[in-house]
Symmetry: D2
Amino acid sequence: MSKLQVGVIGASGYGGAELVRLLLNHPDVEVCAISSHQYTGQPISDLYPGFQNCTDLVFIEQDQVIEKSDLIFVALPSGLSEPIAKACIEQGKKIIDLGADFRLDSSEEYEKWYGKPFGDIELHKMSVYGQCELHHDQIKDAQIIGNPGCYPTSIELGCYPAIHSGWVDTDHIILDSKSGTTGSGKKLTENTHFPRTNEAFAPYKVGCHRHTPEIEMMLSEMAGQPVKVTFVPHLLPINRGIVSTIYLPLKADVDLETIHQTYKKTYQNDPFVRVLDLGKVADLKFVTYSNYCDISLHMDTHTHTLIVVSCIDNMIKGAAGQAIQNMNIMYDFELMSGLKTVAPSF
Amino acid sequence: MSKLQVGVIGASGYGGAELVRLLLNHPDVEVCAISSHQYTGQPISDLYPGFQNCTDLVFIEQDQVIEKSDLIFVALPSGLSEPIAKACIEQGKKIIDLGADFRLDSSEEYEKWYGKPFGDIELHKMSVYGQCELHHDQIKDAQIIGNPGCYPTSIELGCYPAIHSGWVDTDHIILDSKSGTTGSGKKLTENTHFPRTNEAFAPYKVGCHRHTPEIEMMLSEMAGQPVKVTFVPHLLPINRGIVSTIYLPLKADVDLETIHQTYKKTYQNDPFVRVLDLGKVADLKFVTYSNYCDISLHMDTHTHTLIVVSCIDNMIKGAAGQAIQNMNIMYDFELMSGLKTVAPSF
Amino acid sequence: MSKLQVGVIGASGYGGAELVRLLLNHPDVEVCAISSHQYTGQPISDLYPGFQNCTDLVFIEQDQVIEKSDLIFVALPSGLSEPIAKACIEQGKKIIDLGADFRLDSSEEYEKWYGKPFGDIELHKMSVYGQCELHHDQIKDAQIIGNPGCYPTSIELGCYPAIHSGWVDTDHIILDSKSGTTGSGKKLTENTHFPRTNEAFAPYKVGCHRHTPEIEMMLSEMAGQPVKVTFVPHLLPINRGIVSTIYLPLKADVDLETIHQTYKKTYQNDPFVRVLDLGKVADLKFVTYSNYCDISLHMDTHTHTLIVVSCIDNMIKGAAGQAIQNMNIMYDFELMSGLKTVAPSF
Amino acid sequence: MSKLQVGVIGASGYGGAELVRLLLNHPDVEVCAISSHQYTGQPISDLYPGFQNCTDLVFIEQDQVIEKSDLIFVALPSGLSEPIAKACIEQGKKIIDLGADFRLDSSEEYEKWYGKPFGDIELHKMSVYGQCELHHDQIKDAQIIGNPGCYPTSIELGCYPAIHSGWVDTDHIILDSKSGTTGSGKKLTENTHFPRTNEAFAPYKVGCHRHTPEIEMMLSEMAGQPVKVTFVPHLLPINRGIVSTIYLPLKADVDLETIHQTYKKTYQNDPFVRVLDLGKVADLKFVTYSNYCDISLHMDTHTHTLIVVSCIDNMIKGAAGQAIQNMNIMYDFELMSGLKTVAPSF
């Protein structure tokens, strides 16, 4: 059987390069083409020497990538994916967009946070928000996937069972997230200058990060009513990983054991979500370089608040890995295909 | 004029050693004696080679330290300071305890978190909680100081103006703190083994850290009524510093400018507390190795929640530096004496 | 076809655990048994939570591991492998020892550095030093492999073409190596206590590290005459990787282009050794988490010294990965089987 | 007595800003003016928030700095200091240049490495290479100081007693140095982008770094004959500090104890140079944030090579601290004035 031909548009950025890295060892696909606006004509191994001897792929034009591929991954800055999606659909191809363009349902929200409304409403109607554990069935038949953001992935998986059960006072949800520096990407910035960033720590975009509407969209879906959250991201002086500490004040009289059982049951068929035993604490050490999401549950009996700790690798489960998981669902590959790396614990 | 003779009991631990390091360059005092149970007879420079050529101090017996000193700093594990305080008072000496033994007002709370009640109530009645900015006047005349914990210091300074003003819904306060590894001290532990800790991040003692009663004691004092909080500390893979992200839901209709002016005014005579301009974000990069506490203020208009970011060096403003500041107040030295180091910004 | 049954003795240490991690995704083998003296009866995922959901393996007794396996990997401290090798041979099984017991040819040298002579000379005569690129043919038929040390691996691959060509003045070879902290293993030590190690750097065992005789044995083999070296290892405040900066004063009148071509040709059939283009510098960023060894070549025309930079992941090419590569050669599996991970470049 | 008025030209870079940071707590001087080409008109605390509440200094024009100051520190890129030195001398002022312009004796060497010859030979004749421990007497009366480079400082102090004693075979000196990232300065570069640099390690400018001629100039002076060296710098993924591992093959039959005594005696009146006891290893942990240089001595009896490990803080003893030490000598201030900070050992 010939392998699925996949292409990556925007493969010179961190998200795209990580996709290529993982896809090269995926048994069911062949990476047939990659593009980069800035580096057209250069081998990817020039930019990322880790690829030497592993692939001869050279960045080509975006249009050629679409032409050569059955499935196209897009890893571009927001605002550029609509025309690509249109071209894919017209040519009978599928697309998984790692950017923000197909994540939100509402053109109004999109405009508020990204500065322009949806251009082609029909494309957005066709698209599915690719939260693999929560939207599995819609993903199966989708042609356009909006791959979730990194922070939202950690938060949504951490919140779902509790909010869906109706236990949470949804007026006072606090989401305190911490991310490694790869989340900022390849571009040089003051905030990722080594002597500035190393041995430092701070929040950024306090209460006004673009992932807020995506999180609220999904938490509202879970709650069956509009939910507003306070979300504060922080920059960790490490390479990879997101830890979200999620504060869910409980309105229901429910104990931690019950909550724990509900989480276990919810995710019993989701191999990438690991609900830890009570008493253990999720740590990103044990998820980085893998597609796992580790969740630990804690009760502040004092204030009757459920505290959920949710950890992922921002580049894998929070981006490239989840995109591949979406592909596995869409093409009926083994769910874990290409994503079996065990996280190094040291 | 002869200098104040000061001694440090427990100078082989991180807190005690940092005290010695800072006191050696304090113009108004002389470090006359230091003790360590484990290392008696050894020079401190054997243990911490940074002291070579800087001091010849050798660890001696605890009793001798009390005898030789006018003021005694104690940096021991909790539960050991009462008899030392008693001896100091009997000999007409003053004591600043960096441990937890004289921080709490309530013997019940102390017993709940530390496993035994107060032994000598009179000592506790004499003692003052040494929050330098908030308890300045009581500190002046104190003989026994309970030096605040590191997390509480960052949180109390960050909360005071807002809570004291009565603006905060004190039922839903969330305190999400992150600390560097020096907070764990000199003792080897799994959680500070380099390959385990580096490139990792996680919370610990979720909702049950011993600093909780100290924080609640002070926030209740500010509010004029009992306050309960949800407090979650995290371990940062760096050496020094605490960032507390403080979520204060507002019940009052107050805007960020008003809040900011109140913070500025509250701390206008406190040189070590820097309330940043609106729009800036406090970052521990700019406080480590100094005695400053940087505070930035942010409004989530969305949920009407005040977010306060408060940063300190856990070993200095959160321990040894604040202890020296207490001494400066008690002995009417210049407030910044010995504490003028400007934080390196790289 | 049934898969090769492999076991790991000493799987609770870093070397053994890394082996299990990699072997779990090796298509040609099944990890049937693992042992740990200290943790018998516990699942490996208790010790290293990254294994959760990935394997149910539980530590059992060492003897049972030998019994159940066709091939036994041993990852124990030095001095314990002889009796295991004996048992394996008696039961017709093969063994790859990651420790030092089967690396040296000379019982005298072994005794000098490890404190006791060889116990069973015959076992040592049977054993092969498993430098995969240099001893490929002996490895094919070996029953006992002494898997090379981490520092020696980086140095031997970096030195071979130049020394073998007879160009080097072998009286003045300087080997300055730097290793990440995983090289020290799982045991807590002062030198791996986070606040002590982080933002620090220093050499250790200066001129007297146990890997010296192993390096000299192999460099002498390459040179066809006894070679002595000055070897200084340093501890890098990172998790993984070794960089060896190798100073080879040249006695021959040979230019860098010629040397480069010789290196390229020597390793043209060795996919894991990447000789970089002239002008590029090997960096461990591009080898960590992979089995590659990157080598860059530089000439100090000034002193006519060839400088070779050789980088590996100490846990993979320097330990577990090379052990698997040895297995692949012994069992005629695809050479890269189980070792295809592309190094993340960020 | 009025304090010495000092100015800093180029105070927005790391070297200049570190100077200002240290000078603010120097008891004998007042920082009266600072300049920055790029940030004229802005307070230094905008650029480096650690300065908030500590100083109101605002960047002004370079000419004004010269006018207002008695002594001018210059911290500019190479090639810009000659006209400033000229202006200073004409106005009867002294200058300490932290850049490379006044370090080399030879216009030919300067041109070879920096691309242009000396412009005004007379200025260079007047200038003194400010190696504080080795050139103390010339510094006393100097008007122009060329402050040593960071790598050369660590190497020269480490080499002097052995080379000056005539023990070293000066044909095979290898200098393997490792520096933290602040050495690269404030400018954003690929090599200091956090996800690229963190958990990475590599040499750079292998055998061709600009500090080579400066090192050779000084080692030749020590040896009394021309010396050539092989010098390779590496980038450590930390903020501060240089460790130089110095390989000095011995031609003389001298033992380590004798060498150690000679080092101790050589530096007995130099408080900032600490020759460690035999058996100890210098570690940059114990010098960072201080002006100390720690030196440890080791013998590879095997190859009769003296190995010297020399550690400094690149920003302090390797730049701003040594500049202040030069000032202290020139103005007969206490040698350690303003430089008494004890290195934190954690």
